[in-house]
């Protein structure tokens, strides 16, 4: 229990320290409002000629977009820090601390993500309500969104940490981060639900775990069904474990390559 308690403390410290960066929070909220406004306007124009496209009505689409964008803008940004710690050699100091470095990173990232999620959530939901004038959500949908979203943020943090750990092997990890970011943007379902995609990309999206970060929580939010929820829980939990296993392997391999020269 003491082991778990220290990681909870790391989460808490990260959560509280995020509140200091009010400028970032302000900018991020403005960006959220602008991007939702644009996409709400775009979809309202598209739906002006039709009642539904695929399995989405206009209001479902707007609530879906609000929830994907909220998760996206709450996502982990810890990669640069991991990258710097490895490049500067500071990681050797962190290895002597009484915690397992990758779990420390996950908790730290999660603390920031949850803070960002909480402060942005009212803005996303109010804007969705103002555009649709109805609550396109059920209690079950909301609960499943919060649970799947939380697990999705863990998965996101793990993927980002994995990318950061690549600094042990490659010179610059930034392009890998860009690729991940654009995967979320495209087949991750950020602006377009997977059902809207051409068949090849739809299959690709369904086979890959990236949909658990944004698409599955948000789809479950607006189109809740027990089956989809259970499939999502199994999928995201499996992906979280798999990602952690990968982190464990990469970190162990990398630690062996680490040479500390003193000083």
């Amino acid at each position: 229990l003491r082991k778990i308690a220290k990681y909870i403390e790391i989460f808490k410290v990260s959560f509280l320290s995020s509140s200091i960066y009010s400028r970032e929070a302000f900018s991020s909220i403005i960006f959220l409002v602008i991007i939702l406004f644009i996409f709400f306007s775009l979809w309202r124009t598209i739906f002006s000629n039709t009642a539904s496209i695929q399995d989405f009505t206009l209001s479902k689409m707007l609530w879906y977009l609000a929830s994907t964008e909220l998760l996206m803008l709450s996502g982990s940004r810890i990669m640069r820090r991991v990258d710097e710690e490895i490049r500067s050699g500071n990681v050797s100091n962190l290895l002597t601390k009484p915690f397992y470095y990758p779990i420390f990173l996950v908790c730290d990232s999660l603390g920031t993500s949850i803070f960002k999620f909480i402060i942005k959530m009212p803005f996303a939901l109010i804007l969705a309500f103002l555009f649709t004038l109805k609550l396109e959500v059920s209690i079950a949908g909301l609960c499943s969104y919060l649970l799947l979203g939380f697990l999705g943020l863990i998965l996101d943090a793990e993927i980002i940490i994995l990318i950061g750990l690549l600094s042990f092997f490659i010179e610059d990890t930034q392009p890998v981060f860009w690729i991940y970011n654009k995967i979320l943007f495209t087949i991750g379902g950020l602006f377009l639900p997977i059902s809207f995609m051409p068949s090849f990309f739809k299959k690709l999206a369904l086979y890959l775990p990236f949909r658990f970060v944004l698409y599955n929580p948000s789809y479950s939010f607006v189109n809740f069904s027990v089956n989809f929820f259970l499939n999502s829980i199994i999928g995201v939990t499996g992906s979280v474990f798999l990602a952690f296993l990968l982190i464990f392997i990469v970190f162990r391999t990398a630690s062996r390559r680490l040479s500390i020269n003193g000083g």
Partner: protein, 265 residues
Amino acid sequence: MADKKYSKYSYLLEYVKINFLTAIEYKTSFFLQVFGMILNDIALLFFWWALFKNIGTIKGWSLNDVITIYAVVATGFGFATGIFGNVFRIPYLILRGELDYYLTLPKTPLMHILISKMSFSAWGDVAFGILIYILIVRGTVGQVVLFILLSIASSLIFVSFSIIISSIAFYYENAQVIFDEIINSVITFSLYPSSIFADPIKIILYTLIPAGLVGYIPAYILKNFSFKNLAILIGAVILFMIIGLILFNRGLRKYTSLSSPGQRI
């Protein structure tokens, strides 16, 4: 009579050349940034392509029309930050008292500030914008020429508007936050057809946040050419440039140096 080799504006060309050579010197960084920009552009195109597979047109705008908006903005933005690389850093330079260096030299400070830096990744945007216009939209030679001219107009509006907003930094110390938000809004709004927005928003997009002039209007001229619209756009470019110049020069009178150490001499 001025020496031909060192005419009044030859330093501009020299700066562009030096900036390019610096960029090429850091090859990995240069190509990485260009790659990042192109990746970003491809992701947005994927969105539009997948969207138009499900719908016909959006208020008369087809996939090709939207790609034209995108190409104009990417190329215009690329020219703006590729040549005038300091365009986003003016508030920072003002607030940190770093205009001193430019004020001590005989060249016009504003132009000198703008041109003394280059964004490497911007050239990825330029290449991408021109390529997608040629390969996907399949414009004729005449249209490609017009496309490049309109992209230059778009970049001039973008640069002039940035100067206007930068001038706030002469009067208000938290200007950087305002500048970042407004410029981000212009870029974000400029990538979508203005016709999707309600009328009051459209008015804002043609005046206070001129995103419509940066993307939609040039693309509209390419779609339905008329001299009237072209004249309006050129008029807007001139107007924004004059306002930018007046506000910057007025603000410059308020500028006080911080005598910050580490000045570039």
